[in-house]
């Protein structure tokens, strides 16, 4: 088969799975939690969503949730206009509130922040929402399923892990799909109807969970929720095909859609897997005591093909990138990139309210405004008998004042080339941990990138988690040439993207300045130096708070010149220790914050 034909076949398989997944979701939207759908915003995704919508209709509506949906629009809040009109408190329902099942469609899920999805994950867990805002308190039903539209391109652009964890199915749609005559919608509807009643009176399937648990173990999936989701998906799949208990194909289907995207390792070859079999703990003795029958051998063979199905569905680059393991993702800003400064007066800790106009983007402090208006009501009504229940004049307006606290991120760019690499990396690593220990009090973050050989690499995406830093920094490679230009460029890119997210980055560059690899990754000392100087110029234009720490035994003129070009401070630290580096970095970050 040619490569193109192979790709097409693979795409078709993924599309078929996606269509079946839509039917499964339509069958039990609450039980499955929902799905994350990784794909560009194109025709294929539109087609899939409209299929899902048709299958869910008419009982379950799809409800779009925009990226900037605030806490208030999710859980609800005070309905200002109606409150003012009626004079009694009117609480507005949020998007989550629903007595009957609905499916929320989150657009650009990869851009949601960890905190923004919490009301959603809570509703997925408990089918209940909680409103504690604006003087109102309400517990409400929230029967929701979620479709998270994931438009991320890079490996680290993913929806928040807390959300992905709860969405059983993870789809990757193919880029294009050949038009095909699908089953008519009526046929599928009839199937769904039958399946629903079948699902209710399904037989016991005692060994299903155990089979799935073994499979999850083989694929290195630890999450219990994934296991639960896989069981539900397998049962729905069986019910769709008029089976009372899931069979081989249902387990394979669940393995492809639930397990494969979460796999952290490839299953062992079948021979090895069978050898392992007796070691795995059996739930109880009596079952273990049965002699291996022909039946169980047959089961072993069945399991093999399920494993093969899961293996085939694991995305090619997943294991290299380790995307299945929970890992740092690029932290999306809570709002779009534009206007970090303008936002400044609208976030952070509210430190009170002042008289003022709610124009120019300031947020009205309703309670304060009403409080200010309250004592005047009797007088105003006497003067203006035709007025509504509450008379509010411009004088009463109070707007919120916030204490701005923009987060800071210290980027360490470490030259991991040559003989000094190990020492420099070890000390940089120590400095990262020291800084994290100190700066998590202030909630600042740290990132680490290293350059060596022919390229640069982000080793630790911006994080404030010591746990995560430890894991990432456990083993760092070192040695090879010095692609300094690439290192600087990557640091500059990272700093720029952090700035777009409203962050204040600062950079600590650890190097001896002796570049010998060009931007293109070729060994050419003269060109490498020219490239480095160009990159340093770019750094200067960013006006980034930067310090160049020269770690070579004798301070080098090259490093100093480069620092000058980049508009950076130059600090020679021949025997740089973790403490000294952390101190320098702390000073730079403090400078950036000002």
């Amino acid at each position: 088969m040619s490569a193109a034909a192979h790709r097409e076949a693979e795409g078709q398989q993924r599309w078929d799975d996606a269509c079946r997944a839509a039917a499964v979701l339509a069958l039990d939207p609450l039980g499955c939690g929902g799905a994350s759908v990784r794909s560009g915003p194109g025709a294929v995704r539109r087609r899939w969503l409209s299929l899902l919508e048709t299958l869910l209709a008419p009982e379950v509506p799809l409800r779009p949730v925009p990226l900037h949906a605030s806490q208030a629009s999710l859980v609800g809040g005070l309905d200002i206009s109606r409150t003012l009109a009626s004079g009694t408190r009117v609480v507005e329902r949020g998007l989550l509130a629903s007595e009957h099942t609905q499916v929320l469609v989150l657009s650009m899920a990869e851009r949601w922040s960890d905190a923004a999805v919490i009301p959603i994950t809570r509703a997925l867990d408990t089918h209940e929402g909680l409103l504690e805002r604006d003087g109102s308190s309400l517990r409400f039903r929230a029967c929701i399923g979620v479709i998270a539209l994931d438009e991320g391109l890079e490996d680290d652009e993913r929806p928040p892990a807390a959300l992905l964890e709860r969405l059983g199915i993870q789809l990757r749609l193919p880029e294009s799909v050949a038009p095909s005559e699908a089953e008519s919608i009526d046929t599928v509807r009839a199937k769904l109807l039958a399946a629903r009643s079948r699902l209710r009176r399904r037989a016991q399937d005692p060994d299903l969970i155990e089979r799935l648990a073994r499979l999850a173990e083989a694929l290195g999936i630890r999450s219990i929720r994934a296991l639960l989701s896989a069981a539900r998906v397998a049962r729905c799949s069986a019910a769709l095909d008029a089976r009372l208990t899931p069979d081989q194909s249902d387990v394979s289907f669940a393995a492809r859609l639930v397990f494969a995207p979460r796999a952290t390792r490839l299953p062992q070859e079948s021979g090895a897997a069978e050898d392992q079999e007796p070691e795995s703990p059996a739930p109880d003795e009596s079952r273990d005591a049965q002699p291996p029958s022909a039946d169980s051998r047959e089961q072993g063979a069945l399991e093999e093909s399920v494993v093969a199905a899961a293996r085939a569905a694991i995305p090619a680059n997943l294991l290299d990138s380790g995307a299945g393991v929970p890992r740092p993702r690029r932290r999306p800003s809570t709002t779009s990139g534009a206007g970090a400064a303008q936002r400044a007066s609208q976030r952070g800790r509210q430190i009170g309210s002042v008289a003022g106009s709610p124009a120019q983007g300031a947020r009205l402090d309703l309670l304060a405004t009403l409080t200010a208006a309250a004592p005047w009501q009797r007088i105003r009504k006497r003067d203006l008998p035709a007025a509504g229940v509450v008379c509010i004049s411009r004088r009463d307006f109070r707007v919120r004042r916030f204490e701005q606290k923009s987060p800071c991120t210290t980027i360490f760019a470490v030259d991991a080339s040559g003989s000094q690499a190990l020492h420099r990396l070890a000390e940089a690593k120590g400095a990262v941990e020291l800084l994290l220990r100190e700066c998590y009090v202030r909630r600042d973050r740290v990132a680490l990138l290293a350059f060596r050989g022919t390229g640069a690499q982000v080793l630790l995406a911006p994080t404030r988690s010591l746990v995560r830093a430890r894991r990432c920094l456990a083993s760092l490679p070192g040695g090879g040439g010095t692609p300094l230009a690439q290192g600087i460029e990557m640091a500059a890119q990272l700093a720029e993207s952090l700035r777009r997210g409203g962050d204040t980055p600062s950079l600590v560059l650890l190097t001896d300045g002796r570049a010998n690899i060009t931007r293109q990754g070729k060994p050419d000392r003269a060109q490498a130096r020219a490239d480095t100087h160009a990159a340093a110029g770019r750094l200067r234009r960013l006006a980034l708070a930067t310090v160049v720490v020269d770690t070579s035994l004798r301070p080098s003129a090259e490093a100093e010149a480069m620092a000058q070009l980049a508009g950076a401070r130059y600090v020679p630290l021949p025997h740089a220790s973790a403490e000294a580096i952390a101190q320098v970095a702390g000073a730079v970050a403090a400078g950036a914050r000002r």
Partner: protein
Amino acid sequence: MAFPFSAIVGQDESRRALLVSAVDPGVGGVLLFGDRGTGKSTAVRALAQLLPPMPAILACRYQCDPERTDLQCEDCRRRPHPKAGLVPVPVVDLPLGATEDRVVGAIDLERALLEGKKVFEPGLLARANRGFLYVDEVNLLEDHLVDLLLDVAASGENIVERDGLSVRHPARFILVGSGNPEEGELRPQLLDRFGLSVEIRTPEELAVRVEVVRRRDEFDRHPEAFRQKWAKQDARVRTQLVAARKRLPTVGTPESTLRCVSELCMRLGTDGLRGELTLVRAARAYCAWQGDATCGPEHIRAMAAPALRHRLRRDPLDESASTTRIERALQEHFAAAAA
């Protein structure tokens, strides 16, 4: 409807920590930190429906204790013959998006509008008085709310000075937090406020994993029947809890136990005295829970890790986890004591 407490598979340490804090609220709160999908919230919500009701002044908005006049709010002290009754112990959920006015309380908007009167409307801190305040994803809580919680948790009193109001009321609650360290660390000040800290890991053994899924599955299909099935066990836990509370004041704490705790803390180099005090209280509460008369080494052993693991000084170059260090110290200590 919440999952029954006794049906939770494994998670011995977190269950023990929650029960110990229910036996003796003085232990301080519980922090459940660890992997996703390990039933952290489930355990807390399960505990809520297990707690025996408590006597309270019925007219009081802060469910003041009729017996403890010293801890009552101003209104209750002024009431001549307050009517008391049994009320459920509050387990109050503080959602991440909560606004400050709902947490501390604020002016009652309706009455301000309709009557032009300034009346205080109590917030979550008031509702949590004498009960539990639960914060899921506590590490993502906004800083100003964290500061606020710390302040109130330390003083046991909520002082409101806002919207022209000036109110103070008792707010003694057991702070229970849960979260996932992948999403960020907890500030040390907040960490220290939790009496006990539990590290939760996803179970690795196949049999346990299968059992977890089976029970969850059964609960989701037939919640009512499942609860019936476990009602007896839950009732037993409740009875044991009541007995433990009664026994707690009589639990003996010999000199040797106190010395053992001090030595252990010294060996580990814990910060401050809070670790020692918490470990002694927790061990006593655990002793009462077990129905034992004297607090001894086995109770210290059981509570040392949750009471101390978040108070060890962090050494960035020591990779070994706090739990391992405590295990090691325990072993060394008891080996030395035996010799």
